[in-house]
């Protein structure tokens, strides 16, 4: 069961190839990104889980892992399979003892994609060029303002934007402590991160003075960028593959990493999130065949098909090092080495709260203090 629209073509192509090579038939069911989780839940409730299914954010997948719908792949990875993945991706996929999602220690997913976050910039609309791109967030806002260009971020991606910006002030351990509820959301680092959003709003560079919402908010933001209606957007690296599908002729754009904030003590780092990957159902009818297929899928040859057809960053270290990364992906690729490595993430309550509160902040309905208090309340509620 596949969640990704951007990688459906590559996955289908590889499944057909696998059938030809081994005689094992692989059926791909792609319900779409919005329906994926509800359908997966329904499959679990009706005891008809697929043999292999897409992994998603750890928070969303944790109930499936806790309920025993995922094979622990630790021993398989220790047996040599781990060579196919970068150490960072392996680290991000691992659940440590005592994690905040109550998942038994182990590794339940493997990933053929490395996902980082950053900005996509259209030089024609922003007068910002890759060679002399702004060094700081302040310069970036100024450049957008000078060109009368607009920046957009989907409400549903605002948590990742804030997470990335906060890394200018907070170490990975401090961020992780906040996610676990051991440290307050009302600390200076998170406050400063939201302040960047306020600065953008005050400079008048946020498109339509609001963060777009709705079920398809990020696809709409991406469409606006790839059809050259918006000058710059915040997005995840798979956005580039969406661009390839949305407007293949539009190639004149580039990506840059999380912006540096002037005077902040740390170098900003992309939120560490494993990209697309697979979970194997140990209670299915074909666990061994499923494991063999996923192993094959993550071999360098197959990963390169995903990278070329879907225009994504592979998770194989050699491919990442040797591959010629297109300009559109270069900024995202630069973030791989320094990306935050932690096995925790937002709870769903906190994520939902940030989405709504970031919208309210940009609309001027709430100040940063109120926003942080509400996010902390959401954290307390999900404790």
């Amino acid at each position: 069961m596949n969640q990704s629209r951007g990688q459906e073509a590559a996955l289908t192509q590889l499944a057909e190839q696998y059938t030809q090579e081994t005689g094992v038939t692989v059926s791909i069911d792609s319900p779409g990104h919005a329906d994926y989780l509800p359908k997966l839940q329904a499959r679990a409730q009706s005891n008809s889980m697929p043999d292999v299914y897409s992994s998603f954010a750890a928070t969303d997948m944790a109930p499936f892992y806790r309920a025993g719908w995922a094979m622990d792949l630790t021993s398989e990875l220790d047996g040599g399979w781990s060579d196919n993945f970068s150490p960072t991706i392996l680290e991000l996929s691992k659940f440590e003892d005592g994690n905040n999602l109550d998942v038994p220690a182990g590794t339940y997913t493997v990933h053929w994609e490395t996902q980082t976050y950053g900005l996509l910039v259209n030089p024609a609309l922003t007068d910002i060029n890759l060679d002399d791109s702004p060094a700081t967030a302040e310069d970036f806002i100024e450049a957008l303002s000078a060109a009368d260009a607009k920046f957009s971020v989907a409400a549903s991606l605002s948590p990742q934007l804030i997470w990335g910006l906060a890394s200018n002030w907070l170490s990975d351990d401090e961020i992780e402590a906040t996610f676990k509820g051991e440290s307050s959301w009302e600390s200076e680092g998170w406050r400063n991160a939201f302040q960047v959003l306020v600065d953008m709003k005050d400079a008048g560079v946020i498109a339509n003075d609001s963060l777009p919402g709705g079920q398809d908010d990020n696809p709409n933001v991406e469409s606006a960028f790839f059809t050259q209606a918006t000058g710059a957007i915040f997005d995840a690296s798979p956005g580039v593959s969406v661009g390839l599908r949305t407007n293949p002729e539009f190639e004149d754009y580039f990506s840059i990493g999380i912006p540096v904030v002037d005077g902040a003590p740390l170098d900003p780092r992309s939120p560490g999130v494993p990209g697309k990957g697979a979970v194997i159902n140990p209670k299915g009818d074909h666990p061994e065949e499923a494991l063999a297929f996923v192993k094959w899928l993550t071999e360098p040859e197959q990963q390169s098909v995903f990278a070329e057809v879907g225009r994504i960053l592979p998770s194989n270290p050699e491919l990442l090092a040797s591959g010629t990364v297109p300009t559109q992906l270069a900024g995202f690729a630069d973030g791989v080495e320094t990306m935050q490595t932690m096995s925790t993430t937002f709870t769903t309550d906190v994520k939902t709260a940030i989405v709504a509160e970031a919208q309210r902040l940009v609309l001027g309905e709430a100040d940063i203090d109120e926003v942080l208090a509400n996010i902390q309340a959401a954290q307390d509620r999900s404790a």
Binding site: Q41, A67, A207, N208, G213, G214, A229, L363
Partner: protein, 311 residues
């Protein structure tokens, strides 16, 4: 001497206790009703019972364990500001759908009922929105109401009304009315068709008699059309009200409850609680509270409109 009438005893028929109909006739009726009763039992009553049970349990939707937690879910929902904000928002949808939605549907039906040519055309055009999928409607209006490149703002600019252009789905004060307007457009066809059918059932003699008495248009509507439409109005208003209160797809596609929580509705809050937050227990508690409110409201409205129909 008057003769007394002779009472001849008639053979007693076995009668059922209710309605005084023969038992066999009642049995036939129940047999016809049995499939519907079975379906309602399996697909409505049983899930509602399960939801009530689940509202006292904790379940993530995936695990086999469903521990009993008593009233904890109700306490959680009681202190959840998002759910109660959604209840306030849905009242707005209810009021707008009930009054404005029905008024528009009735006006359109009255207009189409009066014309002699093109009745079929207008009947089709007015009903057309109702045949579309809610997702299609949501996406369609996403394009129309988009702030930058949306059709509506572009049209306003073309006609020199650029100052009226708005961020229709992003401004807190406008988002809720904008979504309500989409809802009305999507649902008016249903009410329109029923009102039109009701109007065509009103006997023409009543209007002719009223005209002879010198009644003007308003008087004819007030004393003939409106009372004659009472049964139709009852059912249309009830169904429109319930549809407005159960709004989900339109909101999910257009705003997903945003900006902030300004367009959050109970159905979406319940969906998020179950499928996003994996808290089926509190989602069930929300469902019970919301479902109970709908049942009460329906009973109340049927009592009021029933009294009007009998008057």
């Amino acid at each position: 001497m008057t003769s007394q009438p002779v009472l001849v005893p008639t053979p007693r028929l076995k009668r059922a206790r209710s309605g005084g109909r023969p038992l066999r006739q009642n049995l036939v009726g129940w047999l016809f009703l049995a499939p519907a009763i079975a379906l309602i039992g399996v697909f409505t009553i049983t899930p509602f019972g399960q939801a009530i049970l689940l509202s006292f349990q904790s379940w993530d939707g995936v695990s086999p364990e469903t521990p009993w937690v008593g009233f904890a879910n109700y306490e959680f929902v009681g202190s959840d500001p998002i759910f109660w904000a959604s209840m306030r928002n849905v009242l707005f949808f209810g009021v707008v759908g009930f009054f404005l939605g029905n008024a528009i549907a009735l006006s359109m039906a009255l207009a189409v009922n009066r014309i002699t040519k093109g009745k079929t055309f207008f009947r089709t055009v007015f009903y057309l929105p109702g045949v579309l999928s809610v997702v299609v409607v949501g996406l369609l209006f996403s394009f129309i109401l988009a702030p930058g490149s949306g059709v509506l703002n572009r049209l306003l600019e073309i006609f020199g009304l650029g100052s009226l252009a708005q961020n229709w789905l992003g401004e807190p004060a406008i988002a809720l009315p904008a979504v309500a307007a989409v809802f009305i457009w999507f649902h008016w066809g249903f009410g329109f068709l029923l009102f039109l059918a009701g109007l065509q059932d009103v006997p023409q003699e009543l209007y002719e008699a009223a005209e002879l008495d010198g009644a003007n248009a308003w008087t004819r509507f007030r004393y003939i059309t409106w009372p004659q439409l009472a049964p139709v109005t009852s059912i249309v208003s009830l169904l429109t009200l319930l549809a407005a209160l159960q709004i989900f797809g339109t909101v999910q596609v257009l705003t997903n409850g945003g900006p902030g929580y300004h367009t959050m509705v109970p159905t979406l809050a319940i969906f998020n609680e179950a499928f996003v937050n994996y808290r089926y227990g509190s989602a069930a508690a929300m469902s019970v509270i919301f479902g109970g409110a709908l049942v009460l409201l329906s009973v109340l409205q049927l009592a009021i409109t029933g009294r009007r129909s009998r008057a």
